[in-house]
């Protein structure tokens, strides 16, 4: 063999060695995926210090959750745990973990980390939204073996896996026990370690967070880009400009910016079913409202019939929204007869001002009545103010004289607590985020001991309210999937027919995309944020993830 041939053979062998030695993902990872977003929340990489939106945008990138997503349908799916089961007595959940999971520092991810993470979320320093609920409902956490963990509850908790799923809440994020115990919390916050498809590189407060792709195959998907930069750009027009100039590949936008982004040649991605905009009535069951028009179910229904939802969708949402399901229900809602309710909603939420006026006349208000309406928008949904203004205008067309008052969310939120005196007898705008477990949202809005208590309170819980309480309690204890569906449908029916909370539109999440910087992809239904999608986003030259 000549020297030249030997050199060639050695080069070939070296190439083969590199190809085999390097994990498959690492060979194919190139470039930087730049994402511009309006807020980074608390901008901390410690899961116990961040709320749901921040977790879903950037913590999800580097942390896996005990229960994950069904990326095809939306809703719950396998996560760190492949499967989970309820004990026969309903008092414990057992989670079976995937084998061979590792943290970015090389430590194996085991049941001990799961126990540690859940206990940390429940601990005194935790700002987790559900910390108090977890403390009350979780009795103890038992490590059965390295891949099995059992969560004992104080009462049957049918919804526990949903509460530990990123589809619903951030409390299921799994953190590295050994690492945190070794370096301490402060160092962990500076140099966080997770097990997701991206590992932490740098956090520049008020500016950006940078991640690098893991080079080994990951069960959520191995990233196609080498790096991920999430930039904090509060001003929407600046975000769109950055996508246009290529400084960012993707930017979150509101429906107001959709049209201009499309006209500028950007692709607009719509994430289906991320929220519902609703209007709702406060304290309709109160004795002092006995003679108020809004205490009458048919009057509330008439107000819904006066709303032209197709106009709202066409003109305010640029066609990128859809007729809603009943309150807090979506096509992906668990244990829910989605097809049946979709048909129901198409009929019930129609625009029929003639019938609306007829009902008002039959109920004794042929010339309409005076309605006080609080127009507000939760953070990130500023378009709801326009929707509120539009529906107030639509009501005037059936003779209702609307007194419209605009509230910034920070001023509105305190009104719904305590005795709710400033809101009793009012209608207001509200929204509900997309999540697969409707019962928790229903509990938060309608239970007599909840914050909003829209159907009744502890002093006045009338027939519908009592029926709701009964149904909700039965649902919490029901383990049979078919019976759960029946009970969920019943709960939805009670609320839908009360016309206390009336859905207006089913909204979407919107993103402006520069297709020269990223390939085509779709998001997860109901999941506005892209924290669980980045690893699946292809480079421009690659095959689309999903059509």
């Amino acid at each position: 063999m000549s020297q030249r041939m030997l050199a060639r053979a050695m080069t070939l062998a070296a190439g083969l060695f590199v190809a085999v030695a390097l994990p498959l993902g690492a060979q194919d990872q190139k470039g930087t995926l730049v994402f511009a977003v309006e807020t980074l929340g608390a901008q901390t990489l410690d899961p116990i210090l961040e709320g749901r939106p921040g977790n879903a945008v950037y913590q999800a990138v580097m942390y896996d959750s005990l229960v994950g997503f069904n990326v095809e349908k939306g809703g719950l799916g396998p996560g760190v745990a492949e499967r989970w089961e309820l004990a026969p007595d309903g008092m414990a959940w057992t989670f079976y973990l995937r084998p061979s999971q590792k943290f970015h520092n090389g430590d194996p991810l085991t049941a001990h980390d799961v126990k540690f993470s859940l206990e940390r979320q429940m601990g005194p320093g935790s700002l987790a939204a559900a910390a108090a609920t977890m403390r009350r409902t979780i009795k103890s956490i038992e490590v059965i073996d390295d891949l099995t963990v059992k969560v004992h509850t104080t009462s049957p908790q049918i919804g526990l896996p949903a509460g530990l799923s990123r589809a619903v809440a951030p409390e299921g994020a799994i953190m590295p026990k050994a690492y945190i115990e070794k370096v301490g919390e402060e160092e962990f916050r500076r140099k966080p370690v997770g097990s997701g498809p991206w590992k932490f590189v740098r956090n520049v407060p008020g500016d950006r967070i940078e991640f690098a792709a893991v080079s080994t195959p990951h069960w959520r998907g191995t990233p196609h880009f080498k790096e991920l930069h999430i930039l904090l750009v509060p001003e929407e027009s600046t975000r769109v400009s950055m996508v246009r100039t290529g400084e960012a590949a993707i930017a979150s936008i509101g429906p107001e910016a959709m049209l201009s982004a499309s006209r500028a040649g950007l692709e607009v991605l719509s994430v289906p079913a991320t929220m519902q905009a609703v209007f709702q009535f406060w304290g309709t069951y109160k004795p002092e409202l006995k003679d108020s028009p809004i205490a009458k179910v048919r009057v509330r229904q008439a107000l819904s019939l006066a709303i032209d939802r197709k106009q709202l969708i066409e003109h305010l949402m640029n066609g990128k929204a859809r007729l809603p399901h009943p309150f807090a229900a979506f096509a992906y809602t668990d244990y829910y007869s989605a097809d049946r309710w979709e048909r129901w909603a198409a009929e019930a939420y129609r625009y029929d001002p003639v019938l609306a006026k007829k009902i008002l006349a039959e109920e004794g208000y042929p010339n309409g009545f005076e309605l006080k309406f609080a127009n507000t928008a939760l953070p990130g949904t500023q378009f709801m103010v326009d929707i509120g203004t539009a529906i107030a205008d639509m009501w005037t067309k059936i003779g209702v004289k609307v007194t419209l008052k605009h509230y910034e969310w920070g001023s509105f939120a305190p009104l719904e607590r305590g005795d709710q005196a400033p809101l009793i007898g009012w209608a207001s705008m509200y929204r509900t985020a997309g999540r697969p477990d409707a019962q928790w949202r229903y509990n938060g809005a309608f239970s007599p001991d909840s914050t909003q208590r829209l159907l009744g309170d502890k002093d006045t819980c009338l027939e519908t309210c009592q029926e709701f309480v009964k149904t909700y309690r039965a649902l919490l204890d029901e383990r049979d999937p078919n019976k759960r569906t029946v009970l969920t449908d019943r709960m939805v029916e009670l609320v839908a027919n009360s016309w206390t909370v009336v859905p207006l539109i089913e909204g979407m999440g919107y993103y402006a995309i520069n297709t020269k910087k990223v390939g085509r992809f779709t998001a997860i239904a109901g999941r506005h944020e892209l924290g669980d999608v980045f690893e699946r986003i292809p480079r421009p030259e690659q095959v689309p993830w999903k059509k």
Partner: protein
Amino acid sequence: MWRHKRLPAMKRYIARRLMQGVVLLCLVAAIVFFLGRLTGNPVDLMLPEDATPEDRAALIRTLGLDGSILDQFLIFVGNAVQGDLGMSIRMKQPAVEAFFDRLPNTLVIIPWALLLAMALGIPLGVVAALHRGGLLDRAAGAVAVLGVAMPSFWLGVLLIFVFSVELGWLPSGRMGGPAHYVLPVVTLGMFLVAGFMRITRSAMLEVMESEFVKLARIKGLSEGVVIWKHCLRNALIPVLTLWGVFVGNLITGAIVTETVFAWPGIGRLTYEAVIYRDFPLLQAVIILKSILILVINLGVDILYAYVDPRIRLA
């Protein structure tokens, strides 16, 4: 002898100004504390809409917001006098530390904005004064009006559209190399061009009527030397005394500019503190900004008092 008499007067003046500053800071702290709490509660923004009352109460306790407002205020005052302005609710770091982390990012654009404003405003003021009532005076006036009337957010967005999106010359925002500074500096500086222009113009008009200027002309000095050397030099005294006010304007004006250009300075920090109802951070940012502005103004006033005895004796 002259110096010996001056110092006690200066000391009294400085002591008086410092006392005024302390009183002002106390007022600012109280106003920010109580007004901030009128705008809502951070817990409303941190919890999902279906949070239980139990979770809400627990979070309020964890954040130390469970006492009465008066109790919270007394705790705040007690800590503040020891230099502790609290922990940022959102960022979970000492609020003072968060402020000083971001301050350098603002300080790197303010001198450039000031320089730009002076470089444009002062010559425009001189030209306007020289052509009083004429076309150039009106044109300079129009520029001044535009500078004040154009909202910073609109100017910023417009500049991004033209120079980043359409021409592709400059980045849309964010901190980076020298090119990243251009648009934020122009946006921030334009606001002050009008101020510099108008003060220079009126000061120039006053100086140009002075006896020493007439004398200079009689002596046969060229018009250029008279205007740019003798008149402008004297006209700049009132301009420079307003410098402190203008720096204050830049610090407060940076909120909009930094938000539009995604610039992580103290302006954006203020915006974030308001949006998230991060009371400790908001209090710290406003108090520290007030101190900054007070110190700058005090420095300028002391200088002015040193230069002009009428001020310290008044």
